[in-house]
Structure formats: structure tokens, C-alpha cells
């Protein structure tokens, strides 16, 4: 089955797109959607632990099951903290 995927901020840039579709097996969870994405965009792999997700505009967990045509969003940590990724000063 196909699901719609939305990516934001650094994830969107790593994938080169913020809107895409992917295919997963019936009975799949959001974790399976993420795995399908990582196989397509290996650069996303390091974000697995830090990324939060939503299903049809509700925050969800990686264990949440998905249905056909769901909108699954993967979101890097929101901008409240102090950790910085990307080029450092002088780098």
C-alpha cells in the first residue's frame, strides 16, 4: 500500500524533497515507513533516534500502524534547544 510522506527542515534537505510517497506492506507501522525512506535516502539514517513523527496530523509513535493514503510526517527535533548540527564555526 502507498502512504504519503512529509519531511521537514534538515530531513527535507537531506532527501531533496518534502513531499513524497512510499510503499509499505499491509500491516506496516510508521517504523516500516521510516525504514523504506532510509533505504531510499541513506543520509536520513542517523536521524532515526531523534526524529518524531505524526500520522494524519496527530503526533504518533514509531509503533503506530499505518493505513493506505495516510499522511506520515517525520520531523527533526524542534528548534527549542541548543544542540547544533551542520557546519560549526570555522568549519
Amino acid at each position: 500500500m502507498r502512504v504519503r510522506v512529509k519531511l521537514f527542515a534538515s530531513l527535507r534537505e537531506l532527501a531533496g524533497t518534502g513531499d513524497l510517497e512510499t510503499s509499505v506492506e499491509p500491516g506496516a507501522t510508521i517504523a516500516d515507513v521510516w525504514a523504506a525512506l532510509v533505504s531510499r535516502y541513506p543520509a536520513l539514517a542517523p536521524y532515526a533516534a531523534a526524529t518524531s513523527c505524526a500520522r494524519n496530523l496527530e503526533y504518533a509513535r514509531l509503533s503506530t500502524p499505518v493505513d493506505p493514503d495516510d499522511e506520515i510526517a517525520f520531523m527533526p527535533p524542534v528548534s527549542g534547544g541548543e544542540q547544533v548540527v551542520g557546519p560549526k564555526r570555522g568549519g
Binding site: 527542515a9 526524529t51 518524531s52 520531523m75 527533526p76 527535533p77 524542534v78 548540527v85 551542520g86
Partner: protein
């Protein structure tokens, strides 16, 4: 007063209009239950700082998952209403490119008394930072990067407790 209490917008924030909107909403809600009117309005504004972690910042670029961000704002307003029934909260956040000194976020809390207004304003801002799906990219001298912090599910107790702690909510 027209306009939304909760908004994500690319336009510069209209602070006077937001205050009017929050006060009008308070008036509307309290009339229905014979409660005291507004005697205190607390407002927090976040603005673009010129330095970050030793770097000279040139501008910020904000991006939001808008429909989810609005739902999160609604949730934050509901959390405030549950904790402080006499408070009305307004939340506006900008997206797009912002220059140094521009206001990126406004939180307004109106209530009969200042203690609840200050507390709800602080609580609301902490929750925005914790759970609103809004990201900023820092453009500084010599590069740019996404500023990323702790990722938090809205139901996570640690976040709720931290927001209550900084807002000085007694248990």
C-alpha cells in the same frame, strides 16, 4: 475583534491586534459565566538575536508543519485553560525569513490577575518550544545550519512537568 487567536503567518506580527483579539475573547468567554474581566495582560515576544553560540547571526529562516503546528497551538491553549480557567491565551508565530530584531513569536495571556497571566504566558511559550513543529535555520557569517533541540511528544510527562516548573505551578 477579528483575526485568529492562534496563527502561523509569514506576515509581520501585529501585536496590538493580537492583544485586542485576546481581550475580546476573554470578554466573550467570561460573559457566559459571570466571571471577572481582564485586569492583567502578559505578553512574551521572541525576537531574532544577533549572536548564537559565538556566531554572528545574519538572519533566521523559520519553517513549520502548519496544520500540525496549529493543532499543537490549540492543544497548548487547552492545557492553559485547564490549568488557569480565567486565562485566555493567544499564540502567533512567524515563518519565512526574519532579520535581526524581528519578532518571531508572540504569546499573550489575559486574565483577571497578573499571577495567572504571567504563569500562563511562560507555560505557553515553553510548550511552543517543546512541541510545536517549527524549525529555524540560522544563517550566520560563514555558513548556515538548522538549530535543533530536544524532540518531544506532546504527551511526554517530562515536558509537561518542566513547563509547569518554569511557570511556577504549585502541585
Amino acid at each position: 475583534m477579528d483575526g485568529p487567536l492562534l496563527a502561523i503567518t509569514a506576515a509581520p506580527l501585529d501585536l496590538a491586534r493580537l492583544i485586542d483579539r485576546v481581550v475580546a475573547e476573554h470578554q466573550r468567554r467570561r460573559a457566559a459565566r459571570d466571571a471577572p474581566g481582564v485586569g492583567a495582560i502578559a505578553m512574551f515576544l521572541g525576537s531574532v538575536r544577533d549572536r548564537s553560540q559565538g556566531r554572528i547571526v545574519q538572519r533566521l529562516e523559520y519553517e513549520a508543519y502548519e496544520p500540525l503546528a496549529l493543532q499543537v497551538f490549540d492543544r497548548i491553549a487547552s492545557e492553559c485553560a485547564a490549568e488557569w480557567p480565567d486565562v485566555v491565551l493567544g499564540l502567533h508565530h512567524r515563518i519565512g525569513t526574519l532579520d535581526i530584531g524581528e519578532v518571531s513569536v508572540a504569546v499573550v495571556a489575559a486574565s483577571p490577575h497578573r499571577a495567572q497571566a504571567f504563569a500562563a504566558c511562560r507555560y505557553g511559550m515553553e510548550r511552543v518550544k517543546q512541541i510545536a513543529p517549527i524549525w529555524k535555520r540560522e544563517v550566520f557569517e560563514g555558513g548556515e545550519s538548522w538549530v535543533e533541540g530536544a524532540s518531544m511528544h506532546p504527551d511526554d510527562r517530562a515536558g509537561l512537568e518542566e513547563a509547569r516548573r518554569v511557570a511556577c505551578v504549585s502541585e
